[in-house]
């Protein structure tokens, strides 16, 4: 009888401990998502040029991370999250390419023709109108140039520069070697500087 009571008590303590662990993990994940979600949205938005679609992709990535990788160490979350997101972005772009080919086949143009980078760009807050306009225009130019980069260069540049991942983290997120990351990043910066030129420097 005493053994049963002790066993029950141990199982209750273990159950409580598990509940506490789950709550702590949820709190840590909440902090992580809160920290990363806005930058992730902008990175996705620059890649696919559609905010609503970008919101869906970011949410999908958050759900997948919570479902499959919440048990992994916290320092792995950022590269894992961006790996999921980059895969989602690539899938989305592939689907768009197929859809556009079908549209062209049936005589309808791409909806990307309607894209207006000025309208799509966010409004920076808390600045003087002149400064805001300059910053706004510079960002529109930058994201337009980034959007024109080859996919892997775009990923490397945004993960390294905007998200601040190191070479190892970027390699994990992109699913490639560190050497490839360095090459893609270097080419991206060179290409962007050339594209934006004196207007932007």
């Amino acid at each position: 009888m005493n053994a049963c009571a002790a066993s029950f008590a141990v199982s209750c303590i273990a159950s409580d401990r598990k509940g506490v662990d789950t709550l702590q993990r949820e709190a840590r994940l909440n902090r992580f998502f809160t920290d990363v979600e806005k930058r992730a949205l902008r990175i996705a938005e620059i890649s696919i040029r559609d905010r609503d679609e970008a919101l869906d992709l970011v949410q999908d990535a958050m759900i997948k991370l919570a479902r499959n990788y919440a048990d992994r160490p916290e320092d792995e979350w950022t590269p894992l999250f961006y790996r999921i997101l980059q895969n989602r972005i690539r899938d989305w772009q592939r689907r768009q390419m197929v859809r556009n080919r079908v549209m062209v086949f049936f005589g309808r143009g791409s909806e990307d023709d309607d894209f207006d980078p000025v309208a799509a760009a966010p409004d920076p807050a808390g600045r003087a109108p002149d400064e805001e306009l300059q910053s706004h225009e510079a960002m529109v130019s930058l994201q337009g140039a980034i959007a024109e980069l080859p996919g892997r260069q775009r990923e490397a540049f945004m993960l390294r520069t905007f998200e601040g991942l190191d070479v190892t983290g970027t390699a994990t997120a992109m699913g490639c070697s560190e050497g490839s990351v360095k090459t893609h990043y270097s080419r991206a910066v060179h290409s962007l500087r050339e594209t934006l030129g004196e207007h932007w420097q």
Partner: protein
Amino acid sequence: MNERNKNTADEAFAEKAKQLFDASVDGLDGETRSKLNRGRQAALAELQSGGQRWMQWAPAGGVAVAAVAALVVWTGSQQVPELDAPGVVADMEILLTEDSLEMLEDLEFYSWIDLDGETTDSIETEEPENNVG
């Protein structure tokens, strides 16, 4: 431009790009932030439901583990010399019926009946031979 100057220019470029990007992140409107918040809550709900899905199998898992442990202890105490698979299945079927549990409680009685039956059989088979003679 030598390599050092180039690296410095690249770093300055990246720094400016980062500042513009951060400004655009800070400038996200309320509606977009609200949508992000809803997406985050959906992801966290997934974490909770995933945990609950796992937890709802915990009692059944505990019962299964206890049953297997009991079976292992019981079969170990029987010291059966040879354990064939069909026999184990038959044992399980017998063990899982209520009648068998009652029978186990009166195992001594049934052993006595069995022994008594064997004695009676031997007497019954001997008697006709005696009658023939």
